[in-house]
Symmetry: C2
């Protein structure tokens, strides 16, 4: 049996999955502008949005942020989500930010298919992550990810535009939103431009933890 | 002890509390345009957004929609919310829509303070609802509502703009969002223009039911 195609994102209570865009070089590049107020605001909002993730043992280990950490429900969810993934798909902008900010041992440990116009040879990282650069669109990238994932699931990792393209193409089976108790006011909206008239959602389960609420829905055509 | 000031709204998963605006006369007026595609779309989205409310016994009784109905958790929440309210505050646009659509025995059964520039004598309805028209701003309306509510709570009933004014003025203690598994794509956003930098939220409890998820937060300055 083939796996599912899903995404999972943290979202502010006003619907944003990222603060207002700042150039990735300013955030993570070798000459990052840590004192720029826009960069500081971006970082503060990003940390707040992911407030449930950063203290978790699994997240800290996987991103090489340090040993130890919390081991409650949020940690179990992070680990279980990671373990169901056989391959990931991401957009070029997410890859560009990650290339500057992930540890050398990138946090996927599976094949990752990057949807891009850039031609580039596969990039193998220590720890099992290999980035493949796919130049013929989102469906081709998903086909390759499905094949690589086998019976495990494919995660559309991000960013928002890439998730929306898959959503509007009817290629998402399920998603989980981690609703964070924070208001951004401005930023990158998850569902901006969603093809609302042709998508029906069904709630699958709600998992409240002390910091956030994890909400899972299946996606259907209508 | 004085009561709390709260609001409670249903919200689509993409952050809308109402479909794209349509003139209230077209929706609810004596010559309503039931065959207009925009009106039909508005009605369909509104019903979907409030899918957990319409089948509930309390909601049906209170809005004179008919006898009977569901009596589970969503019904208990609707009744408990109604019972905690000693007075409501609303904006003029919500009142205008309600004046055309509420039953004669309006569904509040307490004093309601309408923030408006219109001068008008109090309007008493059968069943205990009296509408008072307040011409000197949101704080004056809230003062009068607090006094009328005594130890019970004041609900900022809506619409979105009025809720946002109270939120940004730091006058909301607590709110409940009923997150509905529906995407609108367009419409009236709850938190558009929220003063995000000065508002901190704390999750109080999450109450998932089969149809929706009720999320309650307290509001703090920062």
């Amino acid at each position: 049996m083939a796996g599912k195609v899903f995404f999972g994102v943290s979202i502010s209570l006003d619907g944003f999955i990222a603060p207002e865009a700042v150039p990735v070089e300013d955030l993570f590049g070798p000459e990052k502008k840590e004192d720029d107020p826009k960069v500081r605001r971006w970082m503060a909002q990003w940390m707040e949005l992911h407030q449930a993730a950063f203290p978790q043992r699994f997240f800290r280990e996987n991103l090489k942020l340090g040993k130890g950490g919390e081991e409650g429900r949020d940690n179990d969810i992070a680990r279980a989500t990671h373990e169901r993934i056989g391959a990931s798909v991401m957009g070029k902008r997410m890859f560009d930010a990650g290339e500057l900010s992930w540890p050398e041992d990138a946090p996927f440990h599976t094949p990752v298919f990057v949807v891009t116009h850039e031609k580039r040879d596969p990039w193998e990282r220590p720890g099992g992550t290999t980035f493949h650069f796919v130049n013929d669109g989102i469906e081709a990238a998903l086909d390759r990810a499905r094949e690589a994932a086998g019976e495990r699931d494919v995660r559309i990792a991000g960013g928002g535009e890439t998730i929306l393209e898959y959503m509007n193409a009817g290629l998402i089976d399920e998603f989980t939103i981690t609703l964070s108790p924070v208001l951004f006011g401005t930023g990158v909206r998850l569902f901006e431009g969603v093809n609302a008239d042709h998508i029906a959602l069904e709630p699958v389960h709600t998992d409240p933890t002390p910091r956030v609420t994890h909400l899972t829905y299946t996606v259907h055509k209508r």
